[in-house]
Subunit: 185 residues, 2 copies
Amino acid sequence: MTENDRPLRADAARNRARVLRVAYETFAEEGAGVPIDEIARRAGVGAGTIYRHFPTKEALFQAIVADRLRQVVERARDQAATDPGEGLYAFLFHLAEQGATDLGLTEAFAGSGFDLATSLPEAEREFTTLMADMLARGQRAGTVRPDVDVDDVKTLIVGLQAMRRFRGEQAERLYPLIRAGLTPR
Amino acid sequence: MTENDRPLRADAARNRARVLRVAYETFAEEGAGVPIDEIARRAGVGAGTIYRHFPTKEALFQAIVADRLRQVVERARDQAATDPGEGLYAFLFHLAEQGATDLGLTEAFAGSGFDLATSLPEAEREFTTLMADMLARGQRAGTVRPDVDVDDVKTLIVGLQAMRRFRGEQAERLYPLIRAGLTPR
DNA sequence: TGCTAACCGGAACGAGCGTCCCGATTGTAT
DNA sequence: ATACAATCGGGACGCTCGTTCCGGTTAGCA
């Protein structure tokens, strides 16, 4: 019960929203390593203002990642409903593209100094469930090998995002190849 | 011509070798981010001693990586000579395994704050040539798709090492899958 | 309008790390 | 054995960055 229901003062609410928006962009561009002062500068506030809304830098990063994950999961749900056979592939490659423009998300998946399952267990569980679902659908539709499991898909996501992050658009050339590897012979 | 041909004093030579050996192990375990003081402590010397042999931490890291690359290339040459069809696959998966126990090497390939082609152009060229060679052999032997090029292989290496590094042995389950993707249908 | 609690910016603090410096030590040539 | 130059260890310095603190400012209510 650390909740505080009293509504924020107008300026405080404005600043909080501003910080969130700027932090979102900044983590995406620079990754989790960016200094708090840089986010404060971009948002036009003092560092103290950020710390009044988020107890640590880590907490701010988590808030952003949780939100980002929610978006990704939502999108994937639509994808899966549309085409069971393609859902998993569309999701994988979409995630890879996201990783290209969102360094923070990539780091969250890779787990560099930040364990998703520990920090955001709820979001992680939702994400895993969704993936299991899409995988099963693909396997039923015959577009995905039956011997692939959820952990394999998670591993693949890490690899795909690393390729996309470090090798740029060059990585896209490998998507068909990955798909071929996942397809039953 | 920044060379200095005068032989090192006995203690200096001993320390230099000791630092190289310890730095090798330490970068492998902890990655390029490990403090110089930690390497100095493990080697039983002062930080100043390291700086007398290597102008910067970066230079020490480069020296280690260059050596590591040389080993990898040498091993790959043997591999390629033995079995043209399997050479590329053996090399890829060997590199992935190396990445598991050698964080420094992984970082060098991924290019996180360190561009191989710029820092060690010679080693990089040799590495690239070897890869092109193995790729061509595999394609001639019919075990590798003809539409794959050297850049694709480099991208794959980044992905494989990321998988191995962040997902541990779990990554090995995907090796056959990657191979399937690379094999002509 | 005036009061006050909430909020603000940014200076200050402390920890971590790369690099430099210097008085003490030691290898080596004579 | 002696002398001197090379080398050594580790403390000092400067910088970055997360976090805290505080004197000044402002929103919201009476």
